[in-house]
């Protein structure tokens, strides 16, 4: 931190003007992203008997339950030769990641209210580290998926190299929407109740349990406004491979919406964060 500061360090704060050093501060405080995520993860498994094992058991059980539900009840048909578990996981993993990030992010500011009113640091760190926490869960689930693939001796196609791209898309969708919710939640606690509803409702308008191709064309334009549609289609496409269908238009729209969400949410967040300490 010392090196980052020149001897002529000067900071000017003016009423009504945003700070000029915001992004530099964010860099100076970069370790806090990880510290806060680490805290949330560490706290979760404290005073549990099997400790971190929960991090493995939870996604494993989810995967088993989902596979059973989808294969026996929903009878989803991807039209490709792939183990059911892999097919299901390709849809549920990104969705779970999105859902938990959105949930954590939108509550993050209120949960850390005490810190916000007593110490300065760029506030953006709080919601972003909440997403990092979900991302760690996502990685663990993903490792389990990899094991499942090994078990079924399923070899994904070369397209798997695009996976980080779609993960990034999921990341930005979660942050984009999460920041809006977190900021609004500071002032209007109503959003605490709205978010679970969005998540519940979202699973039906996202191709988690079905293929996007089944959506009637007349509604498709509305359907793709949900950025997670592109994300999940992308996941299926890159993991399952074969002739798993992909609609590049919907991916492009998803990406576009994510960019818009990120830009607007950060702007909104930065405008509101200066008074967080007063209203929280």
């Amino acid at each position: 931190m010392e090196q980052a500061l020149k001897p002529e360090y000067e900071l000017i704060i003016e009423a009504g003007k945003s700070e000029r050093h915001y992004w530099r501060d964010l860099w100076v405080f970069r370790e806090l992203f990880l510290f806060l995520s680490w805290r949330d993860i560490a706290v979760r498994y404290k005073q549990t008997f099997i400790g971190v094992t929960w991090a493995l058991i939870q996604p494993l059980i989810t995967l088993v339950v989902m596979t059973v539900v989808f294969s026996v009840i929903a009878k989803m048909d991807a039209g490709v030769e792939a183990p059911y578990a892999v097919m299901v996981a390709a849809g549920t993993l990104p969705w779970q990641f999105f859902a938990t990030s959105l949930g954590n992010t939108s509550n993050s500011l209120v949960t850390n209210a005490n810190m916000l009113s007593k110490v300065y640091f760029p506030r953006l760190i709080v919601p972003v580290s909440a997403v990092i926490v979900s991302f760690v869960d996502f990685l663990i689930s993903f490792a389990i998926l990899a094991l499942v693939m090994v078990w079924f001796q399923f070899v994904p196609s070369w397209r798997i190299v695009f996976l980080p791209l779609f993960t990034l898309l999921a990341f930005s969708a979660a942050i984009g929407i999460g920041l809006w919710m977190a900021t609004l939640n500071v002032e209007y606690r109503d959003f605490r109740y709205i978010v679970p509803f969005i998540i519940q409702f979202g699973v039906f308008v996202t191709p988690v349990g079905y293929n996007a191709s089944k959506v009637p064309d007349s509604l498709y334009w509305l359907y793709v406004l949900n950025p997670m549609v592109g994300v999940i289609e992308g996941f299926r496409w890159s993991i399952i491979g074969g002739d798993s269908p992909i609609n590049w238009t919907s991916i492009a729209i998803s990406a576009g919406i994510c960019v818009v969400l990120i830009i607007t949410s950060i702007k909104f967040f930065r405008r509101m964060e200066r008074t967080f300490a007063d209203v929280i």
Binding site: I12, Y120, F121, E187, Y188, V279
Partner: protein
């Protein structure tokens, strides 16, 4: 350096306060929407539209603050509750933005407005040191380097791997302060955090902060009600009143002015009308004589008034020394519980027998509780104990060496000595 390390120009901060009696703490979207619809309804029916200005009022917590603080200055900020001290610190440490004016800071700022911000009860001492350090702006490397020093300072070696929820409150505070005491910013902003912790540790912390400012030219802003701590630690002072600067400069005259005004504000016959718990007001608190001498009997009178029928379970006087130390309490439980009738004054009075405080200024607080509320109002009255005249031809020991209590005692010698026992007080 010629430029001041902290400079503020016309700095101000205001808050909107709502006058609705049962105003919710958080704005709910529902209320907002309902309000809009009501307005719409009124507009349609030609009624009166909700007037926001009537229900909200702008309150200036800080107003026209122009400051210049030089590098290495240790500035004590004093003033009564609600004078804007904490708001000033919050604005300077960037926790909240100012409403008007500008601030120029020429150094890294670390603020310590609360001990142990971000501590998580489930995490161990070791983990919390890292977490808290990071929140206060230290890097992992920095914390690692100072880790042993922090642990030693806090005296918690044995409990490093215990979750802090199992710590005693003293250990918790020591650990939290130890982390903060090892910050190395150019500007350190400290709110009334030393009020917690045991006396021994308070001294250690004051010492550490003193080292810091003397050794490395660090700039410190220090808020406290503990006048002797302020006097000991700070060279300069800033006296705030209702959000404005009343006086500034060398610490001693600033404290002097504060104490003078503080006393003057009590001279209007103890008429107070201070709200203590909902519906209950303190109308009067007085001591006669007030300038008393150690050992005198003094009379006290407390008049309460309530605006609703309520019950009072507990009343207590708390007497604080000028340095903020609580020296005595008067437990008046025996006179209550009692029912307060709306509008009727309720008086408690009596005599404190042979007041055994050493000479000095004492601040009296009243603590009141019923089964719904409890609250202490500090700084209600200043009780002045004067030095008594030299006894038996001896010069009294100077006040700072005299402790807190004037003991009443007699002495017998065996074998008997010729002259009169020195310690015996003439009543």
């Amino acid at each position: 350096m010629s430029k001041p390390i902290i400079k503020t120009v016309n700095l101000g901060k205001n808050y909107l306060i709502r006058h609705q009696s049962n105003a919710p703490r958080y704005r709910a979207l529902r209320d907002e929407i309902a309000g809009r619809f009501k307005d719409l309804g009124r507009r349609v029916t030609g009624g009166k539209v909700r007037d926001d200005d009537a229900s909200r009022e702008t309150f200036w917590a800080l107003k026209d603050i122009n400051l210049e603080i030089e590098k290495g200055d240790v500035v004590g900020i004093i003033g009564r509750n609600g004078a804007g001290k904490s708001t000033l610190l919050k604005v300077l440490s960037r926790i909240t933005e100012p409403s008007t004016g500008r601030i120029e800071l020429r150094g890294r700022v670390a603020s310590l407005l609360e001990v142990g911000t971000g501590f998580h009860p489930e995490l161990t001492g070791r983990e919390n040191i890292y977490l808290n350090g990071a929140i206060l702006g230290m890097t992992r490397q920095e914390i690692k380097r100072k880790f042993d020093e922090i642990v030693e300072f806090a005296e918690v070696e044995k409990f490093l791997d215990t979750p802090v929820k199992r710590y005693s409150s003293g250990m918790y505070v020591r650990l939290a302060f130890a982390v903060a005491a090892h910050l190395e910013p150019e500007i350190l902003i400290v709110d009334e955090v030393l009020a917690v912790g045991d006396v021994q540790f308070q001294k250690k912390c004051l010492g550490k902060m003193g080292d810091v400012s003397a050794g490395e030219g660090r700039t410190v802003l220090f808020v406290s009600h503990n006048m002797s701590a302020v006097q000991a630690l700070c060279k300069k002072g800033l006296y705030l009143k209702k959000g404005e600067i009343v006086s500034r400069g060398e610490i001693a005259p600033v404290i002097g002015e504060y104490m003078r005004e503080f006393r003057a504000s009590k001279d209007n016959d103890g008429e107070l009308a201070v709200k203590i718990i909902p519906g209950v007001y303190i109308d009067k608190l007085s001591f006669t004589p007030n300038h008393a001498t150690s050992g005198d009997d003094i009379d006290y009178q407390l008049i309460l008034r309530s605006t609703e029928d309520t019950r009072l379970d507990y009343v207590m006087f708390q007497i604080y020394s000028a340095s903020g130390q609580r020296v005595a309490v008067m437990d008046l439980r025996r006179t209550v519980p009692t029912e307060l009738k709306s509008g009727e004054p309720y008086q408690i009075s009596g005599t404190i027998k042979s007041l055994s405080l050493v000479p000095g200024e004492y601040s009296v607080a009243v603590w009141v509780a019923n089964h719904d509320h409890q609250h202490e109002v500090t700084d209600l009255e200043v009780l002045t104990i004067d030095d008594c005249e030299a006894r038996n031809g001896l010069v009294p020991i100077s006040p700072q060496h005299r402790g807190m209590l004037e003991l009443q005692y007699n002495v017998e010698h065996s074998p008997a000595i010729e002259f009169h026992a020195q310690g015996e007080r003439s009543q």
